[in-house]
Structures are given as structure tokens and as C-alpha cells.
């Protein structure tokens, strides 16, 4: 069904953003805008929109970079406790740097787990949070001894802890047997694991491996916090593992997210990663009490994702993979780029900004974009 507004837009051949159209429709519906006035209002809206438009040649990249970089000086360096708990989350400038660096893992990986309607109660959230938290052997060991005579590891189990984490010795036994096969055995409250070779160093190595053996929960989740926000219970985790958490029953897979953007890219793809990049940057800036227009944040994110994989801001990312030799050389690792360019016989097309500054030419930005040449002689002859 075409609405009055849509009809009018067609009639006037207007090009308006969707938000504005929706707003007009809403105003029309609520009666705040009469049908007879629509034409008049539409003309004004079109006029205002036309005047607010960005001009061709505007160096929006620099604009975005400045708009995000400039408030960086005002940002704090501290890491903050998450919502008054013992969980640390990187915030402020370090987080901003981390986002633009496109690190493989963030300094403080964290997931925000939303729950489905059925699980949205205090007890169920508690239970779910508990089941998510990873249990390794080290968590349930009361003591651990390296027996160098028999080349084995002897672990005393902490029964209370075992119970708290919802594990029974039987379950434990099967997991252990699966991993260490015949070398492992469970006798009463002690776990014994034999070394495959009777060498001291092997035993030492085995110790670490044994302690980190995954028993239950989700790998990588070291800590969980339950928080009630509005009417919803949320679970925050320290450590992230998106593929695994998505299989947990009771979580809302549509809303659950992680602050590890590379993981988002791996699991959901580049579009989701771009979205997360925008959200995380926006949150970080907002958290520091800074107002930065959405356009700048989205442009930086789009620039980072334009090639189909997240590229960092810096020499290993966008700046390092520029087409222009001079642009790369003037950023970092000058000589390396020059030597490489010479070997490969590269050609610098002098299309960008720095290249033209270097050779002393007008740059292709703003008023340097139009290429208009007037022949003065012809004009004279006409006279």
C-alpha cells in the first residue's frame, strides 16, 4: 500500500532518508499534520534536506578521523569494574585503541548473554550462569602431587567444590578416561594420572595439561555475573566463546554478543562485525561522556571492513596495504616500503593526499577535486 507520503514523494520526485519519511507518515497518522498541509511541509522538508547534504569532494575520511581522534585526548585510561562487580573491562582510550587495532583477542574478553523468556527468572538465570562457567581439574583439586618415583600425578579432589559445580565423581571419571584413556584412574577421592613416558620433563608438562583439562561449562568462561536490567536477567561472562554459548539452551542467540569483534567476524561474518565495530566504538565513546556523530563512527567501521575482512587502523591494516608507495613510506617503515616498491617496479599513481603534498601538487580533496580548465584565448577572440 502506498501511503500519502509515498505518493507525494513520487509526485515531487523527492529523495529523502527513510527516517524522515517514516516520521512524516507518523505525523500524518496522528493527525498532527493535516493532509492539505502535506505539500507545503514536504517542500520545506525537501529544501532543508537538500541544504543539509554533504558536498562532493568533502574529505569525510579526515573529518571522521579527527572527530574520533580529537576527543581521545580527553579520555581516561582506567579500566572499569563491570557494574560494581569484580569483573574488569577495558574502557576509555585503551579500549578505543584496541578496537581500531583489530586485535585477535581483546584484553578483557567478555560476553553479554541475554536469556529467553522461559529462563528469565532469578533461579533459572542463576542455574544457567553456573552451567556456563568453565570447570577445569584445577578448580576441583584440593591438592596436587607429582610422584617422581612412579611417574604419576596424584590429585586430591575437593568434594564440596565438585558438588557445587554440579559434577559427580562418576561424570568426572568418564571425562578423564576419555581424555587420558588408560593412564587415568579414580580411586575414592584421589585422581591418579600416569605419565606416558618415565621422564621428569614429561611429567612436568603433563601437570599443566591435567590442570587445564576441561570438565564442564563453556571453554574460556572463567567468571560469570548475573545482573538484572529493567525486567531482564542478563549474564555477563569473563572470557568469550561465542560458538559454544550459542548452543546453550535458554540463551537468546539473537541478542547474545561478545566484545571480541574478530570472533564475531569468525562466527557471523563481516556485516555483523561491522555492526559490532560501530556499536563498540559508540559505547566506548558514550561511556567516556563524549558525543561523536554516528556518521564518523560508521565511516571508520566501513573503511575497516571494506575489503571483506577486518583491517586494522595502522601499519598492519589499512595504512600498510595502501596502493600508493609514497603514502605507505610516509607513514611507517619508510625504507622497507621503498625497497619493496623498487624491487617490484611499482608505480605510484599520485591519487591520494600525501603523495600530492610530497610532490607539491594540488590534492584531490575539497576544492582540489574539480578539474575545470578554461581557455582564455577563445574568450578573448569572441570579443
Amino acid at each position: 500500500m502506498t501511503t500519502e507520503v509515498q505518493k507525494m514523494i513520487e509526485e515531487k520526485n523527492a529523495d529523502l532518508p527513510l527516517i524522515v519519511i517514516k516520521k512524516l507518515e507518523k505525523k500524518l497518522e496522528s493527525g498532527k499534520l493535516k493532509k492539505k498541509d502535506l505539500g507545503k511541509v514536504m517542500d520545506r522538508v525537501m529544501d532543508v534536506y537538500e541544504k543539509a547534504k554533504i558536498e562532493p569532494g568533502e574529505g569525510v575520511g579526515v573529518l571522521a578521523a579527527q572527530s574520533i581522534g580529537e576527543p581521545g585526548t580527553q579520555m581516561m585510561m582506567r579500566t572499569k569494574h563491570y557494574a560494581g562487580t569484580a569483573m574488569d573491562v577495558t574502557k576509555g582510550l585503551p579500549r578505543l585503541i584496541e578496537i581500531f587495532d583489530a586485535r585477535r583477542t581483546p584484553k578483557t574478553p567478555m560476553m553479554t548473554v541475554h536469556l529467553t523468556k522461559e529462563y528469565n527468572t532469578a533461579e533459572k538465570a542463576e542455574a544457567l550462569a553456573h552451567s556456563i562457567k568453565e570447570t577445569q581439574i584445577r578448580h576441583i583439586a584440593k591438592s596436587l602431587k607429582l610422584d617422581f618415583l612412579k611417574y604419576r600425578i596424584v590429585i586430591d579432589l575437593n568434594k564440596e567444590e565438585l558438588k557445587k559445580r554440579g559434577l559427580t565423581p562418576k561424570v568426572l571419571e568418564t571425562i578423564i578416561k576419555e581424555k587420558f584413556e588408560k593412564q587415568a584412574s579414580l580411586e575414592k577421592d584421589t585422581l591418579i594420572i600416569k605419565a606416558p613416558k618415565k621422564v621428569a620433563s614429561v611429567l612436568q608438562k603433563l601437570r599443566g595439561e591435567v590442570l587445564k583439562t576441561h570438565l564442564s561449562g563453556i571453554k574460556g568462561v572463567t567468571y560469570v555475573v548475573i545482573q538484572k536490567e529493567d525486567r531482564n536477567y542478563m549474564v555477563y561472562t569473563q572470557g568469550t566463546n561465542l560458538p559454544d554459548i550459542l548452543n546453550v539452551k535458554g540463551i537468546d542467540p539473537k541478542k547474545t554478543k561478545t566484545n571480541d569483534i574478530k570472533e564475531i567476524e569468525r562466527v557471523f561474518g563481516i556485516e555483523a562485525a561491522r555492526h559490532m565495530l560501530v556499536e563498540e566504538t559508540k559505547d566506548t565513546l558514550k561511556d567516556a561522556g563524549l558525543v561523536v556523530d554516528y556518521r564518523h563512527v560508521s565511516l571508520v567501521s566501513d573503511a575497516m571492513c571494506a575489503d571483506g575482512a577486518i583491517k586494522a587502523i595502522g601499519r598492519h591494516g589499512i595504512s600498510g596495504s595502501k596502493a600508493s608507495v609514497l603514502a605507505r613510506a610516509s607513514f611507517e617503515e619508510t625504507v622497507k616500503h621503498l625497497l619493496k616498491a623498487s624491487a617490484y617496479g611499482e608505480v605510484d599513481g599520485l591519487k591520494g593526499v600525501v603523495e600530492n603534498i610530497i610532490v607539491g601538487q594540488v590534492i584531490a580533496l575539497g576544492t582540489g577535486v574539480p578539474e575545470l580548465i578554461m581557455k582564455t584565448e577563445e574568450k578573448k577572440s569572441k570579443k
Binding site: 498541509d37 543539509a52 554533504i54 579527527q66 582506567r78 561523536v292 573503511a303 587502523i313 625504507v335 605510484d348
Partner: protein, 854 residues
């Protein structure tokens, strides 16, 4: 002159490795002598300072191109090396090529079919990251082959002994042999290494001829004593030539192999350090004084290197720098310039029939008096300096078509800048106001975008020299065009400090007619007389006199009171930070939308003057007596402190007896900390509130804090009531001795005072213990700023570098330097945030109200 505008453009720059042929071709002299000058001080022929390589002495002419110093770019020479040496920068590439080629047939170690496959993949990828990936894959693939697929020869393992020595199964491959192997690789195989047979044959990575850069790139300096001091590069080249000569003599004399190899190795060392003096594993070449030499790589590299220091950033003419100071009487788009500078900085003006006489007068005044002129440029381009002696003569000479470089005068357009230039508002165009004294003067409202204050800040000034530059500056860079920041789509320029306090007091008071007339005159009011009520004029009406008609606005002040402005009349409320302040003044924003840049400029100019004028009448000051509190309040504050400390003692007691319940996700200890922090915060807030209640309504400090002019309520609290908890790393102070912060406390003490709570205020002063903790907290915030500045600076540099080529195209798409689409429409709606309505493209509600009425 018109031809100058259609200038030639460099279309592209091709990179390649110099071939020996090319080196010889571009050289004008073969350098043989290892010395620069003879005993008489003349340059030695065929020496490193051979005059054929260019001129560095003023007055002399180049022996090769006959131009003067400055016009002659210099000419290369070359050194013939007795034995080839490896170019250290390409050692790794040579190593890869050696390992991936057959030593017998010199083919790449890949079957023909694979070669063709790689070639196909490589097509048209040069310059992209993909290219390098393919090359790396091809080399890796080739290295895997143990046998040559072409001649079936077995490959021996080659090792690179860094930096430039190659060994094949413990047998040294001398550079001569390396070169031989390289020479034999067919052009078709070279491509797979990423090389270009025409521009970069691999054998050129082994140097047989060494280009000698022109003397202009390594000028020698004559010291006051008459001694000559040569450039680092010259020193290095002397070493190379000397050792090369010795090597050649030894070879000719038929010296034993071992000696020749030793000498050869020395030449290699000197060439390596000549190219790069920071190669790992090679001792750095040093000057006689022990200072490491700055050789080729060091010249290019880093912040002070050729690229960042001399090419991407250049020094410019027509610029000035001095201290800035405030001047509330000039307009926001003006800048005060000292006479001294105005006489030094010039604008070239072409003589037309219209200005011939005025220009002649300027020439007649000469360069020393203001306003005069410094130079005359004849139509043939000859430049003539105007002096006291020749000024009459030159004034007579003036004709149409001459250019006069006249002094800067009022209303000229100049660019004004303060570093660090973090955003585009750090460089804006101002109109000149030539003023006495020695500082640049600027209006206080533009302090915010420049982030300037007057504690010794210096700023730069640039004078655009062409008509189009000035026009662009005026139209695009003027202060009034930059009022709305593109960062948050609100005004960044606005009233500050006293402007706001002044306007606040004005809009809450009534004035006598005389007072009103005084301040209206100072603000430059020219309209109708304002209406009086019993001999008094409402301050709101005075303020309203400057609000343009047609402004309708409803918003809240900082303290939450409603402000109503109807058709340019302030009906309710008062002025504060929220209405006219820098960083988001609502009224300012609306005036900008309604009246455009010039409109706000006038509004801001007159309104700020109005504020200051009223404050002058009123008298305004703040001092410690603003924080005076009556005795009973002091005791009340003491009581709250005591109560808090009692409550904390209770908490500690509870904790010690194990009764304290942990809050979820926390240990008991952390819970205690949290509760104590909460309690102490509450204590300070209570104290602050008690103090605030006692401060009268016309308290100056309070007025400033409440209107957002300067300072905050926290500042007042800390001065008058209680400084509060000192924090290090987001926690109470925990460091110091074992189990205690200072020896003054018992071990394990958890009390407020023992962990950095300061209950004194700044007015009464702190006791030694409090002072110590306060210093700890203060130091943390200092180190924090010291760490933050370089970090955020680097982030900004990276961001700019990564994003600088992104432009909006004519078809609305946003593209990067490669022409790849980044966004199809900028920010999804194609709207410029600095032209938007608080980030929105169109404010529909407002338009409906405007068009239809309520």
C-alpha cells in the same frame, strides 16, 4: 600569468632498482680520489666534492649545467667497485631467490605448469596486498623442491649468515657468484619473485657500481675557524673509496686470497653502513667524536626523516608566530596583529586603474612605516626591494600590470592556527586587525575550538597569497562558518566564563534606565528604546533585544529551570551555559540555523559584550571568602563525618566477626571495600550539601558553578567542606608498608583515614597524612595525562593516515584512495553533520510547527 594556472602535473612515479648501465648514464663523473679538497682548499677533480656534481657555494655556477646555486639540482657521480657487494636492504630477497632457483640451470624450482599458473594469478595485482601474497606463496612453493624440475640437479641448502653472507653447504658464495646466478635467471622466471625484468633485474641487487649522490645532498659546512666539516655521507663515501682502492691494488698485485677476501669484506661493511647504519649484527659506523653516522636510511626514516619532516610537512613563507592574548573588543572572526608583524607580512596586489594611486602612496611610504609596501614586482617577474632610498623612484615607475607587496592591513584574510591541530577548527580564517603591542589578539569565544588559553600559548598565522586562496579561506574557513562542530553537530564556539555569568545576572535582574543604557551602548544596540516598568528595565528584555526575531525555543537550563523564548523574546528563565555556551548552546544553535553564519557572529559579538558590560557594572569577583561557612555548619559537617566513621567502624567490626554477607560475584573483602567507598562518598556529598545550603544565592562561586561558567559544585564542596576519598587505581589507597599504608596506623587497619580519606577541605588545609594521600592521588592523575597524550596522538595519526583519502564523490558515494566504494551514501543519509540538526537530517516536528502553526 594565466598560463601558470594550467600547470603541468606529475602523473605518476615509477620505482625501480638502478642498473649499472643506468648509474653510469646518469652520472657526470667517475669518482676516484678518496679525498675532498686539496691543501689549498680547492675541490679535487674526480674527488667527492668534484664541482661537476653541483654547486653548494653561493655565487658559483655549476660546471655541468651552468646554473646558480639553488637552481642546479646537483648531478650524480659513481664509484666503480673492484669487487661487487650485496645491497644490504635486498639481502633477504637475494636469499629467497637463491634458495628458489637452481644453481645449475638458474631456473626457478617450479615445473613449467606451476609457473604458468602463478603467472596467471599475478596478472594485474601489482600494488595490492594480493600480489605480495602470491609472490610469497610461489617462493615458498619453489623452496620446497629438492630437485630442479628442469635440469634434475639436486639443490644444496643455502644459509643466510646475516646480514650479507651466503653459505651453500658450508661453502661461501661470494657476491660475484651470487651475481652470476642472478644474471642467468631468465626474465620469465623473475616475474614470479615479483620482480620486473625491465626495472629490477635481481643481479642489480648486487652492486658493481655505486652511485655517488650530488654534493647538494651532502653539503659541507665551513666552521667559523675556517675548518671544513664534511657531511656524514661524504665521510662514508671516503671510506668506501679508500678501501675499494686498496682492494683493487691488492688484486692487481696478486695478493693472497685471504687478504683479498678480508678487504672485500671491509668494502661490504662500509657499503652496508653507508646504506643503513642500524643493521643488526653490523657494528655502527661512528664519527670521530663517537656519534653514530646518519647514513641513507637514517635520513629517510622516522619523524625527523626526509619523508615526515621535509616532504609530508614543509616550512612555509608568509607565516608568523607569537604569544596570544585576549581582546573582548574585537569580533570573533578578527585577529589582532602587532604592527611589527603587519609590516613584515605582505599581500601581493596587482596594479589596476582603480588602485594605482593608493598603491603608489603605499610605495612612497616605504617598508619601515605602516601602512607601506616592501616589494615591487615588475611585469617581467623582476623583484625590487623598496628601500628608503629608492622608494620615490619606484613609486614613479608603477604602471598597470605591476605587483606591489603591501603591508597587511585591516580586513585582510589570514589563517590562524594553534597546535596541536587536532580538528579542522584548529585552523580558521580571520580578518586582520592591526593593533599595537607584540601579541596576537583573539576573541575569547574562539578559545574553545583552538583550545587556547593565555598562560603563554603561542599561535601561528599564515597569509594566503593568491586571490583564490583568500576567497576559499573566507568562504570555507571563516570562524563563523566553523561554529557548528562536525563532531557532535552542535556549536563549539560560544560564550564562556564571564560572558555567561554576566548574562545570567543580567537575565535575573532588573536594571535602572541609566544602567540599561550604558550596557546597551557598549553592546552596540541601535534599535528602539526598550520598555520600562516603574523606571526599571527587565534584564531579560535587554538580552532579548539581541535575539533575532522568529526564534522560538523551549529548553531547560543546567539547573533544570525552563527557558521560553518566543519570537525572539525571552519570556521565562535565565541565560546559562546551555543557551549560549561553547560546546552546545541551544539558543546559539537556533540563531545559526535561522540567521546563518553572519547572523550568529553578530549575535555572539553583541551578547558577549553585553554580558561583560553588565558584569563590569555589577562588580564580580571570587575568593576564599566565597567558601566561608558559619560555625554551626562546620560542626554539622564534623558530625556527618563522625557518623560516617562510626558506620565504617561498624562495617569493619561486622567483617572481622565474619557476619558481613558478600554481595554476588564478590569476595567478602571486596564487598567491604564497596560499602566503605559508598559510605565515604555519601559522607562527602552530605557535607557538600550542608555547605551548599549555607552559601547565599548571590555567592559568586556558586553562581559560576550553577550556570556552567566555571567550576563545579564538587570544586566548591572540596574547598569548603570535604575533599573526600583519594583514589589510586580505582581503589582506596592500599600500598605502602606491609598491611598498612603508613607507620601511623596499626597493622591491618581498614579505617577511612588509614586508606586515604581526606575529611579536611582545601580552605582549612590538610594534615600531613591527608596531604600525603592527596599527593598520591594527584600523582596518579598526572602520570595518567602524561601517558594519554602520546597514546591518543598516535591513535589520531593512525586514523588520519588510514582515512585521509576517503572523499565524497560527485555521485554521493564515499570512496577511498583506490576508488573502492566505502559507503553508498555518506552516513546512510548523505547529510553533513555540521549542517545537520543535532545529527538529524531534518527536524520534521519543527518544520510542521513552522509551516502549519500550532
Amino acid at each position: 600569468m594565466t598560463e601558470d594556472f594550467i600547470s603541468k602535473r606529475i602523473n605518476s612515479i615509477k620505482f625501480g632498482i638502478l642498473s649499472p648501465k643506468m648509474i653510469k648514464k646518469m652520472a657526470v663523473v667517475k669518482i676516484i680520489a678518496p679525498d675532498t679538497h686539496d691543501t689549498d682548499g680547492y675541490p679535487i677533480k674526480s674527488g667527492l666534492m668534484d664541482p661537476r656534481m653541483g654547486v653548494i657555494d653561493p655565487g658559483l655556477r655549476c660546471r655541468t649545467c651552468k646554473s646558480k646555486m639553488g637552481d642546479c639540482p646537483g648531478h650524480f657521480g659513481y664509484i666503480e667497485l673492484a669487487r661487487p657487494v650485496i645491497h644490504s636492504g635486498y639481502a633477504k630477497m637475494v636469499y629467497n631467490i637463491l634458495r628458489a632457483t637452481c644453481k645449475d640451470c638458474s631456473r626457478i624450482l617450479l615445473p613449467q605448469k606451476t609457473i604458468d599458473e602463478y603467472k596467471e594469478k599475478m596478472q594485474d595485482t601489482l600494488g595490492s596486498g594480493e600480489f605480495e601474497e602470491i609472490v610469497a606463496a610461489a617462493i615458498k612453493d619453489a623452496k620446497k623442491h629438492k630437485k630442479c624440475p628442469h635440469c634434475k640437479a639436486t639443490k644444496h641448502k643455502i644459509k643466510l649468515d646475516k646480514p650479507t653472507t651466503f653459505n651453500e653447504s658450508n661453502q661461501r658464495i661470494m657476491p660475484t657468484e651470487v651475481m652470476e646466478r642472478m644474471e642467468n635467471i631468465p626474465d620469465d622466471d623473475i616475474i614470479l619473485f615479483g620482480l620486473n625484468p625491465e626495472w629490477s633485474r635481481p643481479e642489480w641487487m648486487v652492486l658493481t657500481l655505486l652511485p655517488v649522490p650530488p654534493v647538494t645532498t651532502r653539503p659541507s659546512i665551513t666552521l667559523e675557524t675556517g675548518e671544513r666539516s664534511e657531511d656524514d655521507l661524504t665521510h662514508k663515501l671516503v671510506d668506501i673509496i679508500r678501501l675499494n682502492q686498496r682492494l683493487r691494488e691488492n688484486i692487481e698485485a696478486g695478493a693472497p686470497h685471504l687478504i683479498i677476501e678480508d678487504q672485500w669484506e671491509l668494502v661490504q661493511y662500509h657499503v652496508t653502513t653507508y646504506l643503513d647504519n642500524e643493521v643488526t649484527g653490523v657494528p655502527t659506523a661512528r664519527h670521530r667524536s663517537g656519534r653514530p653516522l646518519k647514513t641513507l636510511k637514517q635520513r629517510l626514516k622516522g619523524k625527523e626523516g626526509r619523508f615526515r619532516h621535509s616532504l609530508a610537512g614543509k616550512r612555509v613563507d608568509f607565516s608568523a608566530r607569537t604569544v596570544v592574548s585576549p581582546d573582548p573588543n574585537i569580533s570573533i572572526d578578527e585577529v589582532g596583529i602587532p604592527f611589527k608583524i603587519a609590516k613584515e607580512m605582505t599581500i601581493p596586489e596587482r596594479i589596476t586603474p582603480g588602485n594605482k594611486e593608493t598603491m603608489r602612496e603605499l610605495v612612497l611610504v616605504g617598508p619601515d612605516k605602516y601602512p607601506g609596501a616592501n616589494y615591487l614586482i615588475r611585469p617581467d617577474g623582476k623583484r625590487k626591494k623598496i628601500t628608503e632610498e629608492n622608494k620615490e623612484e619606484l613609486a614613479e615607475e608603477i604602471e598597470l600590470g605591476y605587483l606591489v607587496e603591501r603591508h597587511l592591513r585591516d580586513n585582510d584574510i589570514v589563517l590562524f592556527n594553534r597546535q596541536p591541530s587536532l580538528h579542522r577548527m584548529s585552523i580558521m580564517a580571520h580578518r586582520v586587525r592591526v593593533l599595537p603591542y607584540n601579541t596576537f589578539r583573539l576573541n575569547l569565544s574562539v578559545c574553545a575550538p583552538y583550545n587556547a588559553d593565555f598562560d603563554g600559548d603561542e599561535m601561528n598565522l599564515h597569509v594566503p597569497q593568491t586571490e583564490e586562496a583568500r576567497t576559499e579561506a573566507r568562504l570555507l574557513m571563516s570562524v563563523q562558518t566553523q561554529i557548528r562542530s562536525p563532531r557532535f553537530a552542535g556549536p563549539i564556539i560560544g560564550a564562556i566564563h564571564d560572558h555567561i555569568t554576566g548574562l545570567y545576572f543580567l537575565t535575573i535582574n532588573k536594571l535602572t534606565e541609566k544602567m540599561a543604557n550604558d550596557i546597551l551602548a557598549r553592546a552596540g544596540y541601535t534599535g528602539e528604546p526598550l520598555k520600562t516598568e516603574g523606571g526599571l528595565i527587565n534584564g531579560k528584555d535587554i538580552f532579548s533585544a539581541f535575539i533575532p526575531k522568529g526564534i522560538f525555543l523551549k529548553f531547560k537550563t543546567k539547573s533544570g529551570e525552563p527557558v521560553v523564548i518566543k519570537d525572539g523574546k525571552m519570556l521565562q528563565g535565565f541565560v546559562d551555559d546551555r543557551s549560549v555556551g561553547a560546546m552546545g548552546g541551544r539558543l546559539l544553535d537556533e540563531v545559526l540555523r535561522k540567521c546563518g553564519p553572519t547572523g550568529v557572529k553578530h549575535f555572539l559579538d553583541s551578547v558577549t559584550k553585553l554580558g561583560i558590560a553588565y558584569l563590569d557594572l555589577l562588580g564580580f569577583t571570587t575568593g576564599i571568602d566565597d567558601e566561608d561557612l558559619p560555625d554551626n555548619t562546620k560542626t554539622a559537617i564534623d558530625d556527618t563525618m563522625k557518623k560516617s566513621s562510626k558506620r565504617i567502624d561498624e562495617l569493619i567490626e561486622e567483617y572481622a566477626s565474619g557476619k558481613l554477607k558478600p554481595s554476588k560475584g564478590k569476595s567478602v573483602r571486596d564487598t567491604l571495600e564497596e560499602l566503605i567507598m559508598l559510605e565515604l562518598n555519601k559522607a562527602r556529598n552530605n557535607a557538600g550539601e550542608l555547605a551548599e545550603k549555607q552559601l547565599k544565592k548571590d555567592n559568586f562561586a556558586l553562581a559560576m558553578a550553577k550556570t556552567g561558567a566555571r567550576g563545579s559544585l564538587l570544586n566548591i564542596t572540596q574547598m569548603s567542606a570535604c575533599i573526600g576519598q583519594q583514589v589510586v587505581r580505582g581503589k582506596r589507597i592500599m600500598r605502602g608498608y606491609a598491611d598498612r599504608t603508613l607507620p601511623h596506623f596499626s597493622e591491618g587497619s581498614l579505617g577511612a583515614r588509614a586508606h586515604g580519606f581526606v575529611k579536611s577541605n582545601y580552605k582549612s588545609g590538610m594534615d600531613p597524612i591527608e596531604f600525603f594521600f592527596h599527593a598520591m592521588g594527584g600523582r596518579e592523575s598526572l602520570t595518567d595525562t602524561a601517558m594519554r597524550t602520546p597514546k591518543s596522538g598516535y591513535l589520531q595519526r593512525r586514523l588520519i593516515n588510514a582515512m585521509q583519502d576517503i572523499v565524497v564523490d560527485y555521485n554521493e558515494t564515499v570512496r577511498d584512495g583506490r576508488g573502492i566504494v566505502i559507503q553508498f551514501k555518506y552516513g546512510d543519509d548523505g547529510v553533513d553533520p555540521s549542517k545537520s540538526d543535532h545529527g538529524r537530517s531534518v527536524n520534521v516536528t519543527k518544520i510542521i510547527k513552522d509551516e502549519v502553526g500550532e
